[in-house]
Amino acid sequence: MSETSTGPNDQREAELDVAQAAVASEEAALVARVQRGDTAAFDVLVRRYLDRAYRVAYRLLQHREDAEDLVQDSFLRALDKIALCAPGRPFGPWFFRILVTQGMNARRRRTLRDMAPLTDAEPSNTDSPAMDAERSDDRHRIRSALAGLPKQQRLIVQLADIEGFSSLEIAAMLELAAGTVRWHLHHARAALRDVLVPSTGEAS
């Protein structure tokens, strides 16, 4: 996150800005082509955002099939509204705003199966059972701490710290002020730190 960056990182950030501007410009061209009904351009955008869109959708709905349906509906809705995507505007933030709005609506409409149905992951390597147990215990603690946050704070911290969205992007998606997002992020991290950092400190 840029909040923690200092002088030596400025050049890297400037390079990142240039790269982002290039992507935004390329996406604006793709959007213009999609507005003319270009299938190949739409295909590029779908491929580019499919994975990330699914992850955000999964965080909202906590269910694979529902998340896939949400991603599909969001791409189709974006296509329906593509004329409203202003010229020169990058597709990503505009699309994620549609996705998150749809996801929030879906979440309100449905009686969710369970907001925390997360089963422990299968053991992913050949570590000793003791290490696996320790990792599993850590995961359980993180998951519990995350589940203890208010819904919106949980989503904000997931979007920021796991998916790497900026405060501004999250603010646009959730229709909040950027300052409000930063406030939620600060409180969510503080709450997680209270729960997690002392215990991991003891563990290590």
């Binding site: 996150m1 909040e3 923690t4 999609v34 507005q35 003319r36 009904g37 270009d38 299938t39 739409f42 295909d43 779908v46 491929r47 499919l50 994975d51 699914y54 992850r55 999964y58 965080r59 906590q62 269910h63 694979r64 998340a67 896939e68 991603v71 599909q72 791409f75 189709l76 296509l79 329906d80 593509i82 997360l118 089963t119 422990d120 992951a121 299968e122 992913s124 990792r135 850590d138 995961r139 993180i142 998951r143 995350l146 911290v157 997931q158 710290d161 796991i162 991290r189 997680l192 730190r193 997690l196 950092v197 991991t200």
Partner: protein, 139 residues
């Protein structure tokens, strides 16, 4: 590593281990195909709209010169019309009052109406007979 970064890395580590959060390749391929299949109709509509719009836009580019040309032509016609309408008005006035046919012929013979016009109305063969008959009747 500061506290925020540590929290972030712990969250990411937890996330990596979570089975549902990643879209594996087969599921991604199916989802991608589903989206593209359902988008096909809308994309076709957009192409259609765009074709219509292109057509309209190309005509709009031609509309200005065509409009100017049409205005010039209309002005020229308007300028010529009064010359013809004086003669026609004389013929019409004659036809309305009294012996319409005789007055029309008088007007015609006075040079107001061309022989070509009479030819086109009654035909070249019958014109002379018609004129003789009308003048005879008048006398």
């Amino acid at each position: 590593m500061n506290g925020d970064e540590e929290i972030g890395s712990m969250l990411r580590a937890m996330d990596d281990a979570e089975p549902g959060v990643r879209l594996d390749d087969p599921r991604a391929a199916v989802l991608h195909a589903r989206i593209m299949e359902r988008a096909a109709r809308r994309l076709a509509e957009l192409r259609q709209q765009h074709t219509w719009w292109d057509y309209a836009a190309s005509w709009s580019r031609a509309a200005v010169p065509v409009g100017v040309a049409a205005s010039i032509l209309a002005g020229a016609l308007w300028y010529r019309l009064p010359v013809q309408s004086d003669t026609e008005r004389a013929a019409t006035t004659a036809a309305v009052g009294g012996d319409a046919a005789q007055r029309a012929v008088h007007v015609a013979l006075a040079g107001g109406v061309s022989t070509e016009m009479l030819d086109s109305l009654v035909g070249p063969v019958t014109r002379d007979a018609l004129v003789a008959q009308l003048l005879g009747g008048a006398r």
